[in-house]
Amino acid sequence: MSLNTEALPKSQEVTASPEAAPQPWEPRIVGFACNWCTYAGADLAGLSRLQYPPSIRLIRVPCSGRVNPQFVIRAFQRGADGVLVAGCHPGDCHYSTGNYFTRRRFLLMQRLLEYMGMDPRRFQARWISGSEGPKFQQVVTQMTEDIKALGPNRKMRDVE
């Protein structure tokens, strides 16, 4: 009820997982990847040995249309520094239309989060196809760099 100021940690108080303690801070990006395109694109990046920062943790979903905007808020609550939702290019959806709903939902969500004061670079939605290993690499690398520049996320973050 009263302003819970403790819930807003100062950025330097945020620590990464204990194992990483001696290492410099590495952003934590939660990625939602559709099984047919982006997850396959990430697999292709692996097959092609395309290196990118170990910041992203991919959660596999059948279709980007499965990603509920509430998942995104939950990730920020629990300490994600960035969230990526990625799926097939419009027209390429394995389920033909799922990503059109993704597009509507997250165009809206992106604007709403920005309105709530989130930096738009922390929440991204991208189309990455199964053949776009290099694009996956580039998106993750770019996002990691952007977030490194922004520093750890403290907004919406629940410290309990």
Binding site: A7, I73, R103, L112, E114, Y115, M116, D158
Partner: protein, 292 residues
């Protein structure tokens, strides 16, 4: 005088047995309180009133009568009528089970600050009525009185635009302060005609959508999710904001979403008719593309 017509209409419907209950308004504790009334006998019809304080959107009470045997009559202002459309489009009530008595609405007034007797004309319009573009019911079986002329409506997105222009941290701080005030009484949700789930996701057992803690983060989750759930479905009756005991500017969120939906996917006003589908329920191939 609308009140007389209301009473006559209610009496007639009940006497003829056409409806089993009439939902309207009656006077409450003080002269500036008008409160929902449920009339089921003709002789009670004289309790009904229509004055500047009948702000309550009555449509949502129809949910309480889903299993009624007979028809339910309800008085609808412009916003109540849009709320009925919301419920009809969401398949929550059946058109043939409700009888809608439309009342063109001159706009509702705020309760006086002190409670002292004063001329109602001098009271300001309720915030929710100031930007109302549909004072006349958009769906009804019977209309009491003549439609009121459309009011000059200020840009209803002005507040949103002002906020959008602020910096990220400033925005976050503002919302943080507001959401910290939220006591999670759920009045905003419970009064909302678009929140018509049988059981709210937040109330469900075992689902982990929202923690019960009252802290900024969970309050953010609640308020953002509530807004997303009514996205494209909000009929802008402004009841959420009106009933918030903490006075949170909830329409600033709802309107932001409406503004964005209009900009992104084409202009849409929920509840004006039954045909146009909410923007998050369909898509167009040529929707804006930002995710390449």
């Amino acid at each position: 005088m609308i009140t007389e017509k209301m009473r006559a209409a209610a009496k007639e419907l009940l006497e003829k047995g056409e409806v089993e209950t009439v939902i309207g308004w009656e006077k409450g504790t003080f002269w500036y309180n008008s409160t929902p009334a449920f009339i089921s006998k003709p002789e009670q019809a004289d309790r009904l009133v229509f004055d500047e304080f009948c702000a309550n959107n009555l449509a949502k009470y129809l949910l309480d009568y889903r299993n009624a045997d007979g028809k339910i009559a309800v008085f609808v202002k412009g916003c109540d009528a849009r709320a009925v459309n919301r419920l009809l489009q969401d398949n929550q009530v059946k058109r043939e089970k409700v009888y809608l008595i439309g009342i063109p609405c001159p706009g509702m007034k705020e309760a006086p600050k002190t409670g002292a007797a004063q001329d109602t004309a001098s009271l300001p319009l309720l915030a929710k009525c100031q930007s109302c573009a549909t004072p006349n019911p958009v769906i009804y079986d019977q209309l009491l009185g003549d439609p009121v002329p459309a009011r000059e409506v200020p840009n209803r997105f002005a507040g949103v635009e002002a906020l959008e222009a602020k910096g990220a941290d400033e925005k976050y701080e503002r919302w943080g302060k507001l959401f910290s005030e939220c006591i999670r009484c759920y009045a905003c949700r419970n009064v909302c005609p678009a929140c018509n789930c049988r059981e709210c996701a937040f109330d469900a057992n075992g689902l982990n959508w929202l923690g019960k803690q009252n802290n900024l983060q969970e309050n953010q989750m609640f308020n953002i999710t509530r807004a997303m759930h009514v996205a494209g479905r909000c009929i802008e009756c402004g009841e959420c904001e009106r009933v918030c005991p903490m006075g949170l500017p909830l329409m600033d969120i709802n309107r932001k979403i409406i503004k964005d939906l209009n900009e992104l996917f084409g202009s849409y006003d929920a509840g004006l008719n039954l045909e146009d589908r909410p923007p998050l329920g369909h898509y167009k191939l040529d929707d804006p593309e930002k995710f390449m």
